[in-house]
């Protein structure tokens, strides 16, 4: 039988029809949350794992086989699991000569027409043109590290020592090798004749062939078969796993923040659904009692309510899935290249689905327990006019104010619904603003996250003294701290940890010390939270580490905010190291004059022939969080307003009788409206203030907690700025009052029905 034609179906259908607007709001709220979560997860995944997107877009090859000569391509193509073959392409080692530097590169042959497999993705400039020789396309991260732009000269020296000046035609990305400098040598694409020009000797080139697989999991197997098929020809093999690993960012903080937002989103969804369902069930007690007197069982009513409200939630999830997909596909086509992996998608859908069902189930169960006795539809307010109110009347305060205020506190359930319904989204909005303020603080005070020096120069061909001199000669550079980064063996660990020696004990680099103190002596060090957790040590403890075979005992005297390596970094003065490790320094960290533009300084220093790297502010990597914050705040605001409407609806239903009384007392419709808005307004202000204060109090602690768990360490959290806080509170109250006005207006204008009251 058609479900809609059953008794339960009839009722569900009638109820949905009677409250289309409210139902639509519920669907939209859930859809908004799901959309925000999907977009956030996609952006995050894309930001922290760029390989997936690049590989997808470039239709990359999973395996690259390097051979001396051209391999047996048909045999490779015939291997089980191989779907397509890229190349074979010739590849020649060469050296790029740039501002006196000599940087090793790999020059790879490429056809003038972009290949279908392992297709480089042009980002700037134009692709190689068969008509124009002596042009070259440079891999994007490599070009960025060297400061190369389309049109720049590109001087290469072949193995035979001959120098050729080529021109950079364009910059392209590739999913087939990692980013420079993590992945070396740097890559440049050239046409066959150009390659022959640079490396005329065929014996000195190698051949690379890419295999695209049907199933990436079969990589190891295919590699084995390929190596077997090609016998002794294979020189080396690289796979997508290495590429992906080299591209991945340490994303624990990001992941944790996303998890925080995910939970916030789910709580918001639960709140929206529970509020809508609970409010609706409360207004329906009388109808539910009637249904029971007709023979509906408690189970039937619970089921009916779960189906009705759960269906709205599920509709919201489906709508959110579609909207998230559409936004990823059309609104963010440049940032998002690959759809969300099934894992997070399933987690979002299941998480929201379960949350919705749980949130629906409780009020539905309560509804099912409604006694079948016909109860009075509403009790008149129990409170009497308080003495205070009477005094207020006597001194001629506007009656609307007095009645509204009394009203706000005599109806417990709608009052609680209003306050909570507003306070919880407001709290989460404030926490979101706290995250925003924290990111702003990262940008404004990079020194507070360990980035007092935005640039670092590596000696390369130059001596350390030359580098120091050239760097300090720049007008914007105020200090150059000698530094080196080494891997240290620590007790009880099978892997090494990063040891960063920077500055000296006498002139230490300004690390952001969050606890304890800065190192002042040789043999003292500071550490990130991640390292303290890893070793299970506390400030004041001594640790024994081994650097390059030399044992070293350091005392940890402080904890620093450490955004790198999940906080598993030990920092000390370079003079604490053995001379063999410390001299010459691996790099100089440059502190700039306040207000100096690191980009310009970097360009100037590069002009001086220095190899300069610019630090990436964690906030830039976390910028995706800002998108999520905006989206979430919007959805939360909508949810707060929807909650408010539910609560007002519930309050108004109880009001029907009072409205008659108020009008009989001689209040004009305008005064009646003012009474209603005052009643709601007071509760809204209470809810907004409670929520915003709780959010401001907690945001710092919550962010610090995320910081600690991610190894960065506590001490990064900031509450929202006072301006932001005030604006949020004012906007929230204003929007809430505007929303409260709509039903109040309608109620004040409406003819008051003479509704019968049931005997108590």
């Amino acid at each position: 039988m058609n479900v809609w034609q059953s008794a339960e179906g009839r009722w569900v259908r009638a109820d949905l029809r009677a409250r289309r607007g409210q139902a639509a709001l519920t669907v939209l709220a859930v859809a908004g949350i799901v959309t925000a979560l999907i977009v956030a997860a996609t952006l995050l995944e894309d930001g922290t794992n760029p390989w997936r997107g690049l590989f997808e877009r470039s239709h990359g090859a999973h395996i690259w086989i390097h051979t001396k000569d051209v391999p047996d391509v048909p045999a490779l193509r015939a291997l089980n699991g191989v779907t397509e073959v890229a190349g074979p392409y010739r590849s020649a080692p060469a050296t790029l000569v740039d501002h006196g530097r000599r940087v090793p590169i790999a020059l790879q042959e490429t056809p003038p027409v972009l290949p279908s497999v392992a297709r480089p993705l042009l980002r700037e400039g134009h692709w190689l043109n068969a008509g124009r020789q002596n042009e070259i396309v440079v891999e994007w991260s490599f070009a960025r590290a060297l400061g190369l732009r389309p049109g720049d000269p590109f001087t290469v020296t072949g193995l035979n020592g001959a120098t050729h000046t080529l021109t950079v035609a364009g910059l392209a990305e590739s999913g087939d090798q990692g980013f420079y400098p993590e992945w070396t040598p740097g890559l440049a694409w050239a046409q066959g004749p150009t390659l022959t020009l640079v490396e005329p000797a065929p014996g000195r080139t190698e051949t690379v062939t890419g295999l695209r697989l049907a199933d990436p999991a079969a990589t190891d197997l295919v590699v084995q078969r390929a190596v077997f098929t090609l016998r002794n020809q294979v020189q080396r093999v690289s796979t997508w796993r290495e590429v992906r690993a080299s591209m991945e960012l340490d994303n624990r903080l990001l992941g944790l923040l996303l998890a925080l937002f995910g939970v916030a989103g789910l709580v918001a969804a639960a709140l929206a659904v529970a509020n809508a369902t609970g409010g609706r069930v409360l207004t329906q007690v009388r109808d539910l009692a009637t249904l029971k007197s007709l023979g509906f069982t408690a189970g039937q009513i619970t089921r009916m309510l779960v189906v009705e409200h759960g269906a709205l939630g599920l509709a919201g999830i489906v709508l959110g899935l579609v909207a998230g997909g559409l936004i990823n596909a059309f609104a963010l086509p440049d940032t998002v290249v690959a759809p969300l992996a099934p894992g997070p998608l399933v987690a979002i859908v299941l998480g929201t689905g379960l949350t919705v069902l749980l949130a629906v189930w409780l009020p539905a169960w309560r509804g099912g327990r409604t006694p079948p006795l016909p109860t009075a539809p509403a009790t008149p307010p129990r409170g009497h006019l308080s003495r205070l109110a009477r005094v207020a009347f006597l001194v001629r305060l506007p009656p609307a104010l007095v009645l509204g205020a009394r009203d706000a506190f005599t109806r417990r359930t709608p009052a609680a619904l209003t306050v909570c319904g507003v306070a919880i989204p407001m709290m989460m909005i404030t926490i979101g603003l706290g995250c925003w303020a924290t990111l702003d603080d990262f940008i404004r005070h990079p020194e507070s996250v360990g980035q007092a020096a935005p640039l670092s120069v590596r000696p390369g061909d130059l001596t350390a003294a030359e580098v120091y001199e050239r760097a300090m000669a720049d007008p914007d550079v105020v200090a150059a701290y000698p530094g080196t980064e080494l891997d240290a063996l620590v007790p009880g660990q099978t892997r090494t940890v990063r040891t960063r020696a920077l500055g000296t004990a006498g002139d230490p680099y300004p690390f952001p010390v969050a606890e304890g103190r800065m190192f002042r002596d040789q043999g003292e060090a500071v550490a990130g939270q991640g390292l303290l957790d890893l070793l299970g040590v506390r400030i004041g403890d001594r640790v024994r580490i081994t650097i390059g075979g030399t044992p070293l005992i350091v005392r940890i005297v402080g904890r620093v905010v450490e955004p790198e390596q999940d906080g598993e970094v030990l920092s000390m003065g370079i003079d604490s190291l053995a001379a063999k490790d410390a001299v010459p320094p691996g790099f100089y960290a440059l502190a700039l004059r306040p207000g100096a533009d690191p980009g310009q300084t970097r360009a100037r220093l590069q002009g001086q022939g220095l190899e300069v790297a610019q630090a990436v502010n964690p906030a830039d990597r976390l910028s995706v969080i800002r998108v999520i914050i905006v989206a979430l705040v919007t959805v939360l605001a909508l949810i707060g307003l929807a909650n408010l409407l539910t609560a007002i609806g519930l309050g108004l239903r109880d009001h029907v009788f009072d409205l008659a009384v108020l009008k009989a007392m001689g209040l004009t419709p305008r005064q009646v409206m003012a009474t209603l808005v005052t009643g709601t307004g007071l509760l809204v202000v209470a809810g907004v203030l409670v929520g915003a204060s709780a959010g401001a109090l907690w945001s710092r602690g919550l962010i610090d907690m995320e910081g600690r768990d991610s190894g960065v360490g506590a001490g990064i959290g900031r509450p929202p700025t006072p301006g932001m806080f005030a604006a949020a509170v004012l906007i929230a109250v204003g929007a809430a009052l505007l929303v409260a006005l709509i039903p109040a207006r309608r109620a004040a204008r409406a003819q008051v029905p003479v509704t019968p009251r049931l005997p108590g």
Binding site: M1, N2, Q5, S6, A7, R10, W11, A14, D15, R17, A18, R286, D287, A289, T290, L291, K292, S293, L294, G295, F296, T297, A298, G299, Q300, P371, P372, L373, P374, P753, P756, L758, P759
Partner: protein, 248 residues
Amino acid sequence: MSGTPVVKAVNLVKVYQTGGLPVPAVRGVDLTVRAGEFVAITGPSGSGKSTLIHMLGGLDTRTSGEIWLDGKRADTLSESGWALLRRRKVGFVFQFFNLVANMTVADNVELPALLGGASPRQARERREYLLGELGLADRAGAAPARLSGGEQQRVALARALANQPTLLLADEPTGNLDSRNTRDVLRLLGRVHGQGQTIVLVTHDARAASMADRVVSLLDGQIVDDGAIGSARRRPGGTAGDVVELRG
């Protein structure tokens, strides 16, 4: 008087607990209603009439005593057991009509039939028949709030009769109606009874009580008078399902 009684209460007691204080509302009522009987229950306000009738229909639990419906013990049933029983055997009419506000008149009347397992077509036919008989055929698509009090109560009566219940319980069905509508509703009750419907009617209204075969008077939760009035107008058993030619 032969056959199983439609409803039988044995030493029925209801004690409410209000703030720890026991409030006895019904104190040992014995009542037997036979098929086709029309029993009016009267008594002053607070005498326990509503409590009694609610217990007879399973809307409220008894404190002690027995309730037998159609020869089967009912007071020991669970809440859902009562619900299933009500679907088939009991129709309720309340003072305040208690129509489901969101549903149309037609849906309100079809609901019990659907609940009882009738097919949508059967439910519709039954509804068309009942509304037609009660003179409300043209209001089928209306919302209950659009109807006058008398019309709403007639719809409630149609709904109560939708499943051809063995027992119709009515708690002051005319308590909220003007005299004209009261007369209409009472006339309808009389006709339904004329077709053999067993009715228990709680009322303050002497005129309503005078229509019954038997008047039971309650005082402080106890039966103080129970007597047949006039000549028995009872007819052999049967239910409102056989009602025909209600309009005349």
